[in-house]
Each structure stands twice: as structure tokens, then as C-alpha cells.
Amino acid sequence: MTTSIKKLPDFEQVLSGNGACGGCPSTMALRIVGKALGPNAIMLLTPSCAVASMGMTPKLAYNWPCINVTFATAGSSASGITHALEIMKEKGRLQGELPTVFSWVGDGGTYDIGFQALSAAAERNDNMIHFCYNNEAYSNTGVQRSGATPRGSFTTTTPTGKRQPKKNMTRLMLEHNIPYVATATVAYPGDLYDKVIKAKSIPGMKYIEILAPCYLGWQFDMPETVKMSRMAVRSGAWLLWEAENGRISFNSPSSLIISGKREAEPVNEYVMRQGRFTRLFKSAAAESRIAEMQADIDCEIAFMRERAKITT
């Protein structure tokens, strides 16, 4: 059973009055992650909205020791820290439970610029949790396309809508054969909380990707962050699943879509609410390009349904 909202702990690791936009999905998600991780953790960040949201020196909005590292190095920096902690423990310089080492990184810092270091850390199975809060663009610098930007989306570097499908990062991490991979999104906080609690208890490399609908980049109304997240899941554009040692299971409501008990909602309703796609609707090729987007979603659902039958 998913943990109910009323059972989530009281303490806050993300402090009020931070620098994020109103309705920010990154701080929304990090708040829940914080409740699962607790204070005994070390946070790494690469350049992103999450860094801009930390606030101004000498104040800090996150209640952990935080280290801002260069864009490409979340994986390698977290490896260094986690090994250092283990050695300090061995030498008796650290007592008690070791802090959880986690990275809080955008899609730019995960899919693209930080991919090599993350892949290497995964291959070494170093003990950390890498979180990717995926707002499907380089938001902090004014919304440029990333490997996570879906087909059809407008960004400042794809003025006529991105032509290519997004890179499938969660599947790439799955195929690294690490102990734990999971997806989540802000509309389902209990699901996210449980996944982080689980990840925290597993040694080795854990990867959790959180879909983070950003009103600024996606161009919807600010109060609708959670609504957009829910629509992404209901349309199948975002699937909730987790894989423990390569064994995939789907979480509600994605499990219903996968098993065929519930139809995925058509992608139209989801994309129609987002300004980043509306240019498509006005173009002559609107129909075929929306069909392409629907096909990407259908293909992923079909693929994951079959992929889950394989256990390695």
C-alpha cells in the first residue's frame, strides 16, 4: 500500500521562502524526497533551477549540506563523496549511520551533460541516489531543448517544435543493471515517498526520475503543476514503474494502463493545455505531428509491457 499523506513526517528539508518560481515542481518534489531521506544526507547539485532556488548567500533553502558541482560531474562527484565516507567510517572517523549521498539534477545535467559520469558511476555500482527532476528542458537558462524534450515541443532552440523523440533515459539506466530504478511525478507524493524510502535502504546505485511539469517552460497556468503531472500519467505520456534488481513492476494508475484495465487518455487533452505545443496545432501538418506524438506514447506503453516480462 502507498503511504497515505497523513502519515508523511512533519519535518521540512526544503525551507519556506526559497528562490524557486511559485508552483515549482522541483521544490514540490524535493520536499517529499526530503521527508523520505531525512536530515542525514548530503546533497549534490549541478547548475540548474534547483541551484537558483537555493537562495542567496549566506542563506540556504535546503536543510542539508549541499555541494554545487560542475555540470558534467554529478556522477563522479557523488562517487568521490560516497567512497570518502566509507573510508572515514573504516578508519573510525565517522560513527553511526552513514549519510545518504544523493544528487538532485535536472534533465540537462542527467540526460545530456552529466550522462557519461552518471553512466560510469552506475557501472561501478557506487552507493548513491541520483534524482533527475525532469522538466523536459534547460529551464534555468530560458528553456532550451534537452535530450528529454519530447517531440513536438517548442523551446527557444526548437522554434518550430522539436522533430526528434526524447531519449529514453529511464530505460538506459535500467539497462545498466543497477539495483534500483524508478519513475515518479509530483501528483503522486505517496508513491514518490515510498520509492525514496526503498532506494535509501538499498546499497549501490539507485536512479529515480521525477517528471516535473514546469509552467514556465511548458507554458501552462501556474496553479496547474499538479494537474499537468496527473494528466501526463493518465495519458500514458509518463509511466510510473520501479525495477528492483531488474524486475519491473508498474504502479497505479500506470499499472491499469499497462494491464489494459484502463485506457490511456488521448494525448490531445494533455498537450492542448500546454503552450509549448500550441504552435503545432496552428501548423498545416498539425494532425500528422500530433499523431507522431501519440505514436511515441503508444510505442512506449507497448514496449514497457513486454520489457517487464523479461527478468535478467
Binding site: 519556506s16 537562495g55 540556504l60 509530483v186
Partner: protein, 85 residues
Amino acid sequence: MKSVTKAYQPISWPTKGAGGDTGSWRTHRPVVDSHICNKCQLCWVYCPEAVIERHEITIDYRYCKGCGVCAVECPTGAISMEKEE
């Protein structure tokens, strides 16, 4: 760890209001009607700013950014967004 001194290191410390008094960003203010509210805590869990007290459902307006997420997610319609003066 104690040896790190605030005076000589460019180090930041966890503090509320690290982005300023973010309540001043608000154009609209969420107002809770306690007669309608059923204390489900959904607004509390979704508030990105951690400004809602989960039991009394009161809001810290010093930092509430007025994003309106709480009002959209409230299942009973207990939260209305009122224009700031």
C-alpha cells in the same frame, strides 16, 4: 565540524527566506474557509513552499508565493484566491 566559522568562509546556512520575503511576489492570496475544509491535507502536501500548517490549515503569508496550486487541488473548494490590494 564545529571549527568551520561563519565569518571566514563563504558558506551558506539553512534559513527560511533564503530567497527573501517571497510573500511579496503574490498577486493573489489563498484564503481557507475553515467551515468547508475537511482537513484532508492535500493542500499541505502539494504546497511547494511548505507554508501550510497541516493540522490547522493556516498559511504563512510571509512566504506564500500565491501560486494557487493549493486552491486547484483542494477537493472541497475551501480555498479561494483573492486579489491582493
